[in-house]
């Protein structure tokens, strides 16, 4: 395999890895899926701070 192909493959693999990590660690899939449900079926999210 030529050097340029190796580099291209390496860059592509790196992008896939970083994208996968981003999608896994930074995306709140439950919120995104919840947003796509009909309004009447969506879960209601309540925000709080651990303080009275």
């Amino acid at each position: 395999m030529s050097d340029s192909k190796k580099i291209t493959l390496g860059v592509f693999a790196w992008m896939v890895l970083v994208t996968g990590l981003h999608l896994g660690l930074n995306m709140n899939w439950s919120v995104m899926l919840n947003d796509r449900l009909p309004a009447a079926m969506r879960r209601l999210y309540v925000a709080y701070i651990p303080v009275t």
Binding site: V31, A39, L44, Y45, V46, A47, I49, P50, V51, T52
Partner: protein, 276 residues
């Protein structure tokens, strides 16, 4: 779970969150600025205190002259209680320096002498007491007999389109409050599972805050009352964080509190994953 009120405010405005517990003045200010939200219930009564270093020079509030006190937000009851104390001691706002600080940071800041005092909700006063470096100068009720702090705010579109969900939420809060106020064993159980699964704080800390004494935080009388909110509104105007006399009906929807009257306490077995 969030770490600061500004983040909660943004999440509510952007509809990432449909409801939120936030300090009452912030909720009133949001509505006054046209954000479509309404307060539907209280979270609790009391539960805030001004805390100073245990062995420090501040023995009364008058000793706060020239000192720095941390508050959670300029739109907070904890700031308003400081103003009430200033008035009681014939002091001017310029006699002290107020700084805004995220609630989880205040105990450490007090211990490190970065601030001289903080005005904050539980469990942070308890954290300073348990840590051995803090002393409660006064509890909020001392200068504000019907003190309230956190309220439940809901987006108007939720109130309009999903009333039953909002009512279920308010009913649950009402039942939890009745259950908590039934006595020490329930408060200790709550400290355990809330500390471990929701607040991610030491259950012993929450146990201290909920039982030392038992009425340090009270979870009854949570229906929004006009005199309470008129007082908050007027204090906000007086202290320069609100520029119009917004009426109670504009930012409160008390129908859900009415619907929650007659609720009974949860039936909950310690260690169970469900309540009835």
């Amino acid at each position: 779970m969030f770490q600061g009120f500004p983040e909660i405010k943004e999440a509510l405005i952007s509809n990432k969150m449909q409801a939120a517990f936030m300090v009452a003045p912030m909720a009133i200010a949001l509505r006054a600025q046209g954000v479509p939200v309404k307060i539907v219930y209280l979270g609790h009564r009391y539960g805030s205190a001004v805390v100073v270093r245990k062995d420090g020079p501040i023995k009364t509030f008058a000793d706060m002259r020239g000192r720095t006190i941390a508050i959670p937000s300029r739109f907070s009851d904890e700031r308003l209680i400081v103003f009430r104390a200033l008035k009681a001691f014939n002091m001017k706002p310029s006699d002290i320096k107020m700084v805004e600080m995220a609630p989880p940071d205040v105990a450490g800041a007090l211990a490190a002498k970065a601030i001289d005092a903080f005005s904050m909700g539980e469990p942070y006063p308890s954290q300073a007491e348990m840590g051995g470096f803090g002393r409660v100068l006064f509890h909020a009720r001392e200068y504000w007999p019907d003190y309230m702090s956190c309220v439940l705010v809901v987006r108007q579109d939720m109130i309009d389109d999903r009333r039953e969900a909002v009512q279920t939420l308010v009913d649950g809060i009402a039942r939890s409050g009745i259950w908590l106020d039934e006595g020490r064993p329930h408060r200790e159980q709550a400290a355990d599972f809330v500390g471990r699964f929701y607040f991610r704080q030491n259950p012993a800390l929450l146990r201290w805050a909920l039982t030392n004494p038992l009425d340090r935080v009270v979870y009854s009388q949570l229906t929004p009352r006009k005199p309470d909110f008129d007082l908050v509104r007027d204090l906000m105007i007086e202290t320069g964080v609100l520029n119009r006399k917004i009426e109670f009906e504009e930012y409160i929807d008390a129908t859900f509190a009415e619907g929650a009257k007659g609720m009974t306490a949860w039936k909950y077995e310690a260690g169970s994953s469900r309540a009835q």
